[in-house]
Amino acid sequence: MSTPTHLTKTITDPEEAMTHSIQTPVLDRSPERRGPAEPRPRTRASLVSQAKELFTGLGPGIIVPLVLMLGLVAAAAIPAALAPSGPLDMNPAEAFTAPGTAHWFGTDESGRDVFSRVIHGARSSLLIGVLATVIGLGTAVVLGALAGLGTRAVDFGVSRFLEVLFAFPGLLLALLVITILGPGVVTTTIAVGLSAAPGYARMIRSQVLSVRRSGYVEASIVQGKSRAFIVRHHILPNVAAPLFVLATLGVGQAIVWASSLSFLGLGATPPDPEWGSMLSLGRLYIGNAWWLTFFPGLFIVLSAATTTLLGHGIQRKLKDK
């Protein structure tokens, strides 16, 4: 479940950071890349143009997923405004209506409008994704910071603990958490979050370490700054930015994993519309009513892919900066 975290290994791994620092001067020396002779001055007056620049600077790599994401967020925030009917409105007489003008995504076994349920499902699915990531990252920040900032012994202890957690594959950890706490949305969220935590923690640790070993922290020590100052003003801000990327990448995966748990019958409580449980129920009818499986699945893929693309976009943006 820690998948996305590994993708960003490229930026956070100290090993990698080393190769970068080796390569950068070389690139710098090639004339066309040489830093701007006279960088454009930034004045307060040009706020508007700055905003403009910010947006044009984004490029389709960020704008397209951003627009999709906004759509999903809108669905999560004001589903009632977008969906033609309530998520629980039933009409058994209309069960299994195929997609058409009356029901864009068809109806399910109780005659509920699948489109409305998918729209309403955005809230719990996104919430699970976001909260699980928050839980995972929160745990990871504590562990990672402990390991990265603590003494050798603390680092050793935390690292071994992480190794142990790593030896439980994500789903296994989630399964145990869920069987202990009982199924449901909250548990799923916690389970997915916790099982993502070790991956995040390992990365935060290496990020903290690389910042801690950076030239500017050393410069700060030479200036006689206190430990607390360095942590607050250098380490935290510089660890936070990649963390944001991690979080964006993590949300998508959390949604996918939560849906897998729903599939195994350990997810959201009915009748709340949640994409994973809709899908897993719909899968029973895959031969009779494909739309029950297809649309919720599509939205899981869509939201996960969207957050990933957004994460990549931000990551590139940060790198360019």
Binding site: P31, G35, G215, Y216, Q223
Partner: protein
């Protein structure tokens, strides 16, 4: 506007002939020109050096000769001929035939110019595989010969090693071996000795001289006049995409005609006595900020300390290798730094000089021995007690960018470095930041910029301003100009010199560059493998080196012919 066309060394057809070469980057409609029409030609067995600072367009020009300018480059030329063949309309396939076979190319940084995952033997054999029908066995035999030829010992073993297992010098040799595998008519070497230690640098230059003697034409790209002086028959000085001056080496170095060439020569610190200005007046900075905050405030009891400000006694530091074996970085180093003076520490990479700097700064604690600051214990203090004293000793690094938090702007970097930053009001602080900027010759407008958006010279000035901010007694300068162009280096060295005189600063100046150290130091310490080899007055050591190592080092340092440089003054 372009410089006078080169005079052929002999009447034969030139190996390469370039006229009115223009290079721009971007789309066809909106291209930014980088090279504005340069002409040169190289004849068989001749060496042309293109000298210029970063951004001059010298590397792009070189790459254009092998058709690797880049995807979005727009190239125009009246003539672009290799051995009489027009290269301008070359197809991709045709270019590939030129590369390696017609022109050998040695990239600037050997560390990253060889695939770290492939044995060097394979890398070298690539040209043979691509351009000939030799059998693998024959290729291997040829590669062994090449390794031998470029002076790599034990070719049979080295052939299977990867670049990571080789030293910098061997890597550069391997790279040259790959470039000359097919004995191309022209060999282009782009900064072939940058990042190498002096002794190794000399060996590489010797190797290139051998090739030249064997009849290969050489195009040498460098920022270092001293380096090319040894090898080049002719020198073309390039600046902002134009060749400003071309001529035989002796003439260009001896009686430069162009003002820029003169400036470059003047900027070379080697053999210039201490206090000589390297940059032309006006381009340098004069210190006008007498009332430098830090200096005022630091007028406390410690100022009265006579005697050496920084003393190192028998320092020893051992690190642990990843496999647990100990590695002694510094064996036994002692020195004393007098107020207002500069102590240079010179040595090649791995000599332990940076570890000494770290111990002086209290970043590394010596295993044995002691560092004393202003007569008081320093390295023996716990960090908590050291912290309030840190304002007396600051540092300037080789890589200023890495020493700035990427998220902080200049104003924050500097105001943060001011001592007791709590007691000053916001506007007072800002005033001091601006005064610091002016002190190092920067405009107040840079204060809102991120360091990333500054040029290399500007960054190093910010680093100096930061080092000045607390009003220190000692500044540790660890390779502070190694990453800078010559003319910028000259400005920074001038600035450091002026600041020293103004504020009675003491510098511990660490560098691998003998010329720089010679120029700035009152006394020097020569280090090798963690030991002090020789120490003494700079002038004496340079004039009469006592130890073999020092002699070797001095001999290897490239220098301009002094009689010629004397001509400028």
């Amino acid at each position: 506007m372009s410089s006078p066309t080169t005079t052929p060394a002999n009447g034969s057809e030139p190996i390469i002939k370039v006229t009115d070469l223009k290079i721009a980057f971007g789309s066809k409609t909106q291209a930014t020109p980088v090279v504005h029409g340069v002409d040169f030609e190289i004849h068989a067995g001749e060496c042309l050096a293109i000298v210029g600072e970063s951004g001059s367009g010298k590397s792009v020009t070189a790459r254009t000769l092998i058709g690797l300018t880049g995807a979005n480059a727009v190239i125009q030329a009246q003539t672009l001929q290799l051995q009489g063949k027009d290269l301008r309309r070359n197809s991709d396939r045709a270019w590939r035939k030129v590369r390696g076979a017609g022109i050998g190319y040695v990239l600037q940084d050997a560390l990253v110019s060889l695939d770290p995952l492939r044995p060097i033997g394979r890398e070298i054999a690539d040209s043979l595989r691509i351009h000939t029908n030799l059998s693998p066995a024959a290729r291997t035999a040829k590669v062994l010969g090449l390794l031998e030829a470029v002076g790599i010992p034990d070719p049979e073993q080295r052939i299977n090693q990867r670049s990571g297992e080789l030293s910098g010098g061997l890597r550069q040799r391997a790279l040259i071996a790959a470039a000359i595998a097919l004995d191309p008519a022209l060999l282009i070497a782009d900064e072939p000795t940058t990042a190498l230690d002096a002794t190794v640098q000399q060996q590489i230059l010797d190797l290139l001289a051998e090739r030249k003697a064997a009849g290969t034409s050489l195009l040498l790209i460098s920022h270092d006049l001293a380096v090319v002086g040894q090898l080049a028959d002719r020198i073309a000085v390039m600046r902002r995409g134009e060749i400003v001056e071309t001529g035989p080496t002796a003439r260009v170095l001896g009686s430069p005609r162009h003002e820029y060439t003169q400036r470059l020569l003047r900027a070379v610190p080697t053999d210039k006595p201490r206090g000589t200005r390297l940059a032309p007046a006006g381009a340098g900075i004069s210190v006008r900020q007498h009332a430098l905050i830090g200096a005022d405030r630091a007028a406390d009891a410690t100022r009265d300390h006579t005697g050496p400000v920084l003393v190192a006694e028998s320092l020893r530091k051992t690190y642990r290798n990843p496999d647990g074996t100990p590695r002694v970085a510094v064996h036994d180093v002692s020195f004393a730094l007098t107020r207002g003076q500069t102590l240079g520490i010179v040595g090649e990479s791995g000599s332990g000089k940076s570890t000494v700097a770290r111990m002086a700064l209290g970043l590394a604690i010596p295993d044995a021995g002691e560092v004393r600051l202003l007569g008081n214990p320093w390295s023996t203090l716990p960090e908590k007690q050291r912290r309030p004293q840190r304002k007396h000793i600051t540092s300037i690094y080789q890589d200023p960018l890495g020493s700035f938090d990427p998220q902080w702007d200049v104003a924050r970097i500097l105001s943060d470095a001011l001592p007791d930053s709590g007691s000053l009001s916001r506007s007072e602080r800002r005033d001091e930041v601006i005064r610091l900027l002016e002190t190092v010759g920067l405009d107040a407008s840079v204060e809102s910029r991120l360091p990333l958006r500054l040029s290399g010279g500007q960054r190093q000035r910010i680093a100096i301003a930061r080092a000045l901010a607390p009003g220190p007694d000692v500044i540790i300068c660890d390779e502070p100009v190694s990453a800078l162009d010559v003319s910028i280096q000259a400005q920074v060295l001038d600035l450091l010199d002026e600041l020293q005189r103004e504020f009675k600063l003491s510098y511990l100046f660490i560098s691998h560059d003998l010329g720089v150290v010679q120029h700035v130091s009152d006394e020097i310490v020569v280090m090798e493998a963690g030991l002090v080899v020789e120490a003494g007055r700079t002038s004496e050591v340079f004039a009469n080196p006592a130890e073999d190592y020092t002699k070797k080092l001095l001999a290897a340092a490239p220098r301009l012919n002094t009689t010629l440089t004397g001509g400028i003054a």
